[in-house]
Symmetry: C2
Subunit: 409 residues, 2 copies
């Protein structure tokens, strides 16, 4: 049988698999090296004890006649949707209907699946650098053409670099869908409301759709930076928002997320008829998935209880303090650094204009520190390097020290 | 923006959503009716206490530094893959490598996603009646053409009816992929090894792929009926197998499943190069998903421990006894019934050649019993009706009694 060549012809392997593979090789050659990992964006602090206890309790209840739950509702349990709506939206003055919120097992799952709603000929724009999932999922669907010189010929790239202050330009050509992620992965930079508004206006004027990934919104510490794109007027007409408990509440190993698809967001079908993307996503999801584990949804809802919120917010502050430790040290060492204030990611210029992957190898060999090469996120990431604040305070301090020490030699 | 019209043009709504909607209408009109549900294939018995305790314990451990787990391995935790391999395959004489087993959050997820590996022009065959997910997922990808008179014009349908003893014929035309599900949903019928072998031989001779859904294998009580397609010689060259803990261990609300993609299964890319479907699935899954909840995988592995196995097998026997109660009663009432011996599904001919949906409404109104209209699974399901054995003994007995009572009037 003939396979989907769009998957087999994807360039290289998935970024984090390549990193894992290089670490493995290094470890085999240097079995005694004490490697500090500031690479993959995985959290390391334990779950909130309150949340874990609720999770465990729901799991135990599954063995009782009263507590047992079979198939979850396809869109998610109402108790969780309601908690999300009240706390993440209503409390911030955003009016959503419960039927606009869909629970899933991960923002990556949704960010990768959302493109199934687009016509195969839709023209897609990404910021550059970019979280690879947006690009790879569209490439696998055959929407991006061929890969040449680090870019897909049918995709539109919006550079996001130090030169434009990490505020990408609006697309100049016809674009149907634009992916945005703020606080940004990988750069750790943010857009203010005033900087985000032109994108919403552009989408409204051009009948375009914005996929807004707000997975890192819990790290925002300034009221002027939007936690949701729906804080921008008119965004409910043009934007789908993906959020996650992974980074907010340490759920990378628990798996729960949600996506908002407002009823006002529409597209046109082949015959030109207006179609609600909410109805389309509901149909797609109901036909392809059987929902999210009941105890996991109980755990996610517990994040909004007073005790759960308190404990998870403490963890966020811990990571942000780590970020400050790294930022301060690198600045002190004369490096040029971005992000790390409203995000767990620090985006640094490599010293001496080293290539990203060269710096990855250099850092691993000379400081036994793992980071993520900026080039792995797109051509405009070349010459940059991502460090994450998700480790312990000790790791942040030690790694910063080792980097400074390495550079001073 | 232009949407994927293949989703918006899907006929009707998803079968079980339509059923839910008819029940809701009936309940609003008859608020006091005591409805017995033998419709949707959801389990109802509590989880094994042993399994639930392991699940809860892993959830609680997530709040400790030692027990916390972040992103799970994309293919699943090795402890679970190893338990599956040893118990479901090695113990039955099937040699698989661990790297051929992929953990997921549901067999529906995998059955719907596997088509992403096929070229858009692949020709797909389904048995008729069929579990709708195989069809809908291919239709949404635009692979099946248009829907006319209950069938997709580019799909190949293999009738599975009383006339051929529920053994569908081999495809006569060129087919690239064939979906098989045994024990079958919806008919509850099985294929013996001798009956399954010709399909494997056909696939080998025709360079075709078989997607084998074995979600109900735990209900098989006869050694001559294969629990895995890999019990058939040569199947590892041509078959992908989807399995689930949903029906085996009451995991519909827990969400865990696995798919086997042997290294020998290959296809050809655009340039004619042979490509491993295992590598393709690994790439696809690694790029689009972040794996399955750690405590859920701990729970799934506990199903293979002695105590977990004992408790889950008791539940399977309970459901099979329900099936016998329903089968015996319906036979006694003169109805023609199939399945229900190696499966939790009873497939009955509607009395007086009633249309399936008419019988659905008739049964709901006159016996307050919910089943699933055979026509919802394809044109060859017309005139049939599915009842499930997943309720309590009392429900099985009462529902059978009400049906007989209704028919005798």
């Amino acid at each position: 049988m003939k396979i989907n060549s769009h998957i087999s012809s994807l360039p290289g392997s998935y970024l984090f698999q390549e990193i894992a593979s290089r670490i493995k090789t290094f470890e085999q050659e240097n079995p005694k090296a004490d490697i500090l990992r500031l690479g993959i964006g995985d959290v390391t602090r334990p779950l909130s004890p309150y949340v874990a206890e609720k999770f465990a309790s729901a799991a135990r209840d599954m063995a009782t006649a009263e507590g047992f739950r079979g198939y979850p509702p396809g869109e998610g349990y109402h108790f969780l949707i309601d908690a999300i709506n009240k706390n993440d939206y209503a409390a911030r003055g955003i009016a959503l209907q419960d039927s606009e919120i869909f629970i899933s097992d991960g923002a990556k799952t949704d960010a990768a699946a959302i493109q199934e709603l687009f016509d195969k000929d839709c023209r897609i724009a990404f910021t550059d650098p970019v979280y690879p999932v947006y690009v790879d999922s569209n490439a696998m669907a055959g929407r991006l053409g061929t890969f040449e010189n680090g870019r897909w010929c049918n995709a539109v790239y919006l550079p996001s670099t130090a030169e434009n202050g990490f505020v990408p330009p609006l697309p100049e050509e016809k674009v149907d869908v634009l992916y945005l992620c703020y606080p940004n992965n990988p750069t750790g930079t943010v857009l203010t409301k005033a900087q985000l508004k032109p994108f919403v206006d552009w989408a409204r004027e051009n009948n375009a759709l914005i996929i807004y990934d707000a997975a890192y919104k819990a790290f925002i510490t300034d009221e002027d930076i939007p936690r949701s794109i729906y804080e921008i007027e008119g965004a409910k007409e043009v934007a789908i928002e993906c959020c996650s408990f992974s980074k907010t509440a340490g759920f990378t190993g628990v798996r729960c997320a949600y996506t908002v698809v407002p009823h006002q967001v529409t597209g046109r079908d082949n015959s030109g008829k207006e179609v609600s993307l909410n109805a389309l996503w509901k149909r797609r999801t109901g036909s392809k998935n059987n929902g999210v584990s009941y105890p996991v949804q109980v755990a996610a809802a517990a994040v909004y209880d007073e005790q759960g919120r308190k404990e998870t917010e403490e963890t966020i502050r811990y990571y942000l303090d780590n970020a400050r430790v790294i930022l301060d040290a690198l600045k002190q060492g004369g490096l040029t650094v971005y992000g790390g204030v409203h995000a767990p990611y620090i985006w640094m210029k490599t010293p001496d204009n080293m290539k990203s992957w060269d710096f990855f190898d250099y850092l691993l060999r000379n400081a036994h520190v793992v980071g993520t090469p900026g080039a792995g996120f797109g051509p405009c990431g070349e010459g940059y390097f991502r460090l994450t604040a998700f480790g312990s305070r000790e790791t942040a301090q030690q790694a910063s020290g080792r980097i400074l020490n390495m550079l001073s030699k």
